[in-house]
Subunit: 413 residues, 2 copies
């Protein structure tokens, strides 16, 4: 099991075997050419430490069959289509299928002529896939549910909408071209007709987190740099400690995988925009221009939580977001975040419906996201300006090893 306080040595040891399999194709391709393909096969799924692409289409499905064979067949079809689409090929033929001109096309066509654009497709399995809310073990996998996939608790101030929360299976599609991400999700939904149904779906137009030191930190819709302290692809020891599930952590089928938490966080930007710069910076605990922690000079300077201002008060307030979220106050827990800005039109009350679609990967949500969010939800000064309206929790299995493997095979065999 993961012990986050002082777990460095343990993590490095336990994760040694996995570290050899770290998905190494992502960095050069992404860094040099946003149109390039990211390899699909590997020990870990792509789309986790892959340098965060610019655009997101996220989808959560309900499985509407009770037949395990139908679900497995879909996962096999999806995996084959994902292997094709991530390499810039169609999901299938756009024309006559197997010589049958009356058949509907096996690809919907809107990505024809476009490059792969760094597309990654990352699958996750929600708690309800293992046992429905009514307690039914539809697929005979209830005993394979990882302990780490424990339902998230209700956090203070949660304002979750069930219809855009949860889901049996999720797919995170990231790409540098949104048409490519949308095409991928749309074709997975098309292939899944009759077996799965779209529960909810979310577009993100701009990444807020960098997952590689090769990337600049981006800004969220509060106007602040976001994810400065994010886990990065170039920190393999930390990733083994904090991100990847190690052998012995739980069921074998998750070894090399990771747990994903999603939170749709509505930002009350109109209220925020009427707040002074000084107050905004005090709430976040960083300055807005450079992104440096208050009392520090540069973005990547380690925050000094003991520093005081001329008035003797802490330079970084006790309820500042950066303090409460920091590993120093969370038993060493860190996250690999892949968040995206969203605007979903307006809210009918004269305001933009805007915010952050937060995605975080981790080795054990109980010790990482849940621990951090418990503190944040109670104390964070930022809470006045945000509402958590959607929540998701998914177990993301390890990568697909080759053409004879498929998403989640070890869970179903």
């Amino acid at each position: 099991m993961l012990g986050l306080a002082g777990a460095g040595a343990l993590g490095a040891a336990a994760g040694g075997a996995v570290a050899m399999e770290v998905f190494d194709g992502a960095l050069p391709a992404q860094a040099n050419d946003p149109g390039a393909a990211v390899p699909f096969y590997g020990g870990h799924q792509a789309g986790i430490i892959t340098p965060a692409q610019d655009r997101l289409h996220f989808v959560a499905f309900d499985v509407i069959t009770d037949k395990k064979a139908e679900l497995v067949e879909l996962l096999q079809k999806w995996t084959a289509a994902a292997a094709r689409m991530t390499q810039g090929r169609d999901a299938g033929a756009i024309g006559a299928v197997n010589g049958v001109p009356e058949a509907a096309p096996d690809d919907t066509g809107e990505a024809l002529g476009l490059p792969p654009s760094g597309l990654t497709l990352t699958i996750g399995f929600g708690p309800t896939l293992f046992r429905t809310a009514e307690g039914k073990d539809r697929f005979g996998i209830a005993d394979k549910r990882p302990a780490a996939l424990a339902d998230l608790p209700k956090f203070a101030k949660d304002a979750l909408q069930p219809e855009i929360s949860g889901g049996d299976i999720c797919v995170q599609a990231c790409a540098h071209d949104p048409q490519i991400a949308v095409h991928a999700v749309r074709n997975l939904a098309r292939i899944g007709f009759g077996v799965v149904s779209v529960r909810w779906s979310q577009l993100g137009f701009g990444r807020t987190s960098s997952t590689s030191v090769t990337q600049q930190t981006a800004r969220n819709l509060f106007g602040f740099k976001d994810g400065t302290a994010n886990l990065k692809a170039e920190e393999p020891k930390l990733l083994d400690e904090q991100l990847w599930v190690a052998g012995g952590d739980g069921p074998d089928w998750m070894t090399g995988g990771s747990y994903m938490v999603t939170r749709k966080i509505r930002m009350l930007i109109e209220t925020w925009d009427r707040t002074s710069l000084a107050e905004q910076e005090a709430i976040i605990g960083r300055n807005k221009g450079e992104g440096a922690a208050l009392g520090s000079a540069k973005e990547f300077d380690e925050p000094n939580f003991d520093a005081t201002g001329s008035d003797g008060a802490p330079a970084i307030a006790r309820d500042a977001h950066v303090r409460l979220a920091h590993q120093q106050f969370n038993n060493g827990a860190r996250l690999l975040r892949r968040g995206y800005n969203f605007v979903d039109g307006s809210d009918g009350l004269g305001r933009l419906n805007a915010g952050l679609f937060f995605i975080a990967y981790q080795r054990d949500p109980r010790k990482q996201f849940v621990a951090i969010q418990t503190r944040l939800s109670r104390q964070d000064a930022l809470n006045e300006y945000i509402r958590h309206v959607s929540s998701g929790l998914f177990a993301c299995p390890p990568g697909v090893s080759g053409a004879d493997d498929y998403w989640g095979r070890a869970l179903f065999v």
Copy 2:
């Protein structure tokens, strides 16, 4: 007045003076560098014949004041902010404003460090700005309402949602980076606090129309190339005939402007995706791969509506979209389209909420969009797969001539 059949000579003559002012800064900048700035000042507003940028944030506002002076002051502030933002500068200071540290920032910050990204901001005035639905002439401009800004009729099969239709003022923000487009709209909304309220707002992730011969035709979510027959920036005579309002067309304040129609068109993509390729192509009247009209070889070959297949039936069916929409059957009427693909999550019925946000500019909607849509709404084979759920109509004034001018000045002085 515009006579569309054989109006070439008239259009060219009437538009001669305007043609000299054609916004000429757009093409080189856009063609060479998607990060570059598009000039803001000019005889026409940018964002109409500017080569269609990749991303859209469209917003419609309700004016919530009855005081003309407040509205004019806002238009002046907006124009100044737009002139700054389109050139890659902040809307205003992010820090202390006029030395007052307690003031809220004059820029929200999320575009800091990003290039101009081809941002254009294009304003339009809706019928309700001239006279409210209750008949009130709030700003003393009712007699300046152009005849061409006649309320759109109800078309067959319209399924319009009033809460995402109409609006007193719209702003179309187009850019190659969605963060830039969102930042611009958000700051205009911020500046307008207390004077305007966001009525509705729409993001488009991918352009479907090219407005310049330098651009490739893009695909809509039916998977087909869209806008092959669009008006292009390189056709100044056609633009004078079909796009720009000429002196004598109506009130002087619109000379050099254009009329914008927006339609949010939900596509029933799941139904479409289960239709055979042959049927899809028959409905559109073009093939899917190349985008050629049926019976023709290449995308830009002029459709031959008289051609017949081996069975003697028309190669392009009588109810095919390309036939019904073509100028040959619409008294010569054409449109300059700037549509965008959208996905707004899911619809709660297991389907993606996806489609096309249609934007079209024209010299006189009565003879162009209304004439074409009247035919399409009654006969188009595509109607089985689409629903028009939102509609907007706006008069877009000519461009801003310089720093002492502002959006719509000639309407209000």
